[in-house]
Symmetry: C3
Subunit: 340 residues, 3 copies
Amino acid sequence: MDMTLREIAAIVGGTVEGDVGLRITGLNGLKEAQAGDLSFFADPRYQPYLETTPAAALVVDAAFADGRRPLIRVGNPYFAFAQLLKHLESLLLVHPKGIHPSAAVAPTAVLGEGVALDAHVCIADGAQIGARTVLYAGVYIGRDAVIGPDCVLYPHVSIRERVRLGARCIIHANSTLGTDGFGFMAVGGKRVKIPQIGSVIVGDDVEIGSNTSIDRSTTGNTTIGSGTKIDNLVQIGHNVSVGENCTISGSTGISGSTLIGNNVTIGGQVGTAGHLKIGDHSMIGARTGVNKSVPENSVVSGYPMHDHQVTRRIMASLEYLPDALRRLRKLEKRAQDLEP
Amino acid sequence: MDMTLREIAAIVGGTVEGDVGLRITGLNGLKEAQAGDLSFFADPRYQPYLETTPAAALVVDAAFADGRRPLIRVGNPYFAFAQLLKHLESLLLVHPKGIHPSAAVAPTAVLGEGVALDAHVCIADGAQIGARTVLYAGVYIGRDAVIGPDCVLYPHVSIRERVRLGARCIIHANSTLGTDGFGFMAVGGKRVKIPQIGSVIVGDDVEIGSNTSIDRSTTGNTTIGSGTKIDNLVQIGHNVSVGENCTISGSTGISGSTLIGNNVTIGGQVGTAGHLKIGDHSMIGARTGVNKSVPENSVVSGYPMHDHQVTRRIMASLEYLPDALRRLRKLEKRAQDLEP
Amino acid sequence: MDMTLREIAAIVGGTVEGDVGLRITGLNGLKEAQAGDLSFFADPRYQPYLETTPAAALVVDAAFADGRRPLIRVGNPYFAFAQLLKHLESLLLVHPKGIHPSAAVAPTAVLGEGVALDAHVCIADGAQIGARTVLYAGVYIGRDAVIGPDCVLYPHVSIRERVRLGARCIIHANSTLGTDGFGFMAVGGKRVKIPQIGSVIVGDDVEIGSNTSIDRSTTGNTTIGSGTKIDNLVQIGHNVSVGENCTISGSTGISGSTLIGNNVTIGGQVGTAGHLKIGDHSMIGARTGVNKSVPENSVVSGYPMHDHQVTRRIMASLEYLPDALRRLRKLEKRAQDLEP
């Protein structure tokens, strides 16, 4: 990176205070910034780093008043930072283009305008790929699957038959959508497979991390609402419904038939028991074991799950339990001694 | 789907009570069923839904007595439902056929009759693929690996060298069998790799989810018994032995050298310490931290692990711990005041 | 395997006591050894197995004095065992050789001397592959990525653009390096992607398990130090720094911006909250929920995390909690009865 403050201000729609010709060679958080870097100040907790950072210049908001460095003043410094990252990404991230000759496209598959297929992509019969969608090397699209326009699927993503993705979805490498749900019934001491003939329907603007698995439903559809973001190594069971604008962090497992509302935030390594309902706008702390349904607007954590404030108190108390047991025995002994 | 009750009854071996020509357009659980759907009644807990379901007809057993809708009467409604799903799946699920020209098959690999190789499959020297087995796009079969007949391996499954699968196994996308076990020894402050020269042996009728990893053993074999079903994102360490007809749910990790008996049921996000034994017919609740061996026929849960009933009591008690500590201090204060 | 004790002693640099011509047909731990096997004795806890093992011969150290079987005497029996495994592996493990005609190598990619590319490998523009490195079937190397010499990448590994690996790294199947970090900001009720333009830098002699995900950083680099070993199904978030000679066991998740020192040992299913520091030489027990920073040389476990000895006491106490609550109520009742 090598840009002047003037060029950067133009990209983020800000105004420069100081040397407009100052050359910026990197971009970093206030804590990590080095000489020559542009950084940003958006969170008062980072105030101490203002004293020590060697950053060459800062992106700040209207309230900021520290004249030590050249500034770019904007409405929302964090958003401006994201915009600048987006600009730099547009220079750095070069997706595959065109149809690689090794791509295997079934005769009845339909490719939209400007679709890019990297090497060794495989598209099965009846599948449809939306305009401008990019499929990286080795992506598999199953029979009659439908991928919306402007999606990016990274290497070795596997989209099984009849799965549907909306527009502008990003699916990271080695993830799997449409795996058979984990359904068996006991017949004479054996586990007999219950066929999973449903599918998975994903909305628009959904991002799914790498090595994540989303199961197809028994009948009907597992659904992921528009705007929802799912991290790496997440397991989504069959017949689950995830609402819109949710985030689900890494290594979390959502059991079958869980219903998750809109705008739900789920931390990492969370697990949910099956057939529960998680209300809109609820927040589930990392490592929560969700063993009952969660009302709207709740903030919960712990295992067993409680209101987050209750869990905090339980966690703070655990340390004192061994000693409390000893003290309880001592009290009992004294009480016994008091007996007539 | 568009079938008459008569056609469906023929598939599940049942008898129609009501309009045999009624057209069914979907299939669903009693809770989810919509107009035109066939549903089934097998669990008394679903009784309330009988009042409200718009299902067009029901599959029921001999004891069912509710004349409001056309019925298909069978011995086991749930099994009939699975049979019907199987029939529908046979119409919906069209596996790849033949040998795709892009498949890379080593000269010394042996393919059974009717094997299907999708695009970009790679089969290394000495590997054997059983009759009628289907390898989806990008499946990798390592040197001298043996895959039984009638298996289905979904896209990008990686079967490393010398791994052996029995008949009728299903392995879902992006799973890995035969990864080197995680074995290192400390030599002069460095971690030196202990080569893992064993393999993995999988029985018949095993199903393994997507993005699951099963490690090869140091010497000897990691083994998965016939009829066992393993979910997505499961980690099975080296030298593990899993018995027959087990189920292991998603995101569970089985540490090295764990011995798991037959007919064991393991919930999601369970972890086991290494070198433990889990007895036949035991049930391990979701999220259990298995920190000691589990006797046969046990039902255990929690971390630390206890009998499930003990864990339930501990979990129910935790909520009262912070207050109990306060009350204990109060009692101690009173006891002190009683001192002469 | 079919070798004489003489041949084996030559490989491990030991001396035979007993029949140098004895033929060994297998290799196994003392507990698992069968007739004809060579085993080793390095841990006094395995003493009881000396009585019962049918092993034909043992690798032992200078102190061992049990004349019942032929012996190979060495300085470090466990290390000798690893050496022997390495020898056997060199006979068993045959990597792909040469450039498979189906490999798709971009015109500007640079391949070192002796590189092996298996079927359906894809190497993007500007990528560099070090000498003698082996890429198994379907491996993807993104634009401008750099892979050091003597690496082995197993099937379907995905190395995203600009990621750098040192020498002698082993990456197991279906793992992903360089996934976009999980970063979004809330704008008008929607989650807007924060582009992740950083990368991942991996040192020398790093081994990474299968189905593991390592995220690229927002800016700067996620780093994995030389000699570090990471197991299967591990999630490493963006901007994480892992030091040298660490081990991270299966199903663990490291949240974004965590700084891990050198020689750190992390058990399975551990989770860390973001922005924490884990000091050199610390040991994090399996399933620990790391909710605060960990000083150097610590041994911690539990959730909430405590010194391991504290956690042991808490875990041992939990069982008595339900009864303690009952007893506390009883004492309170008695205290109340004592009131005047």
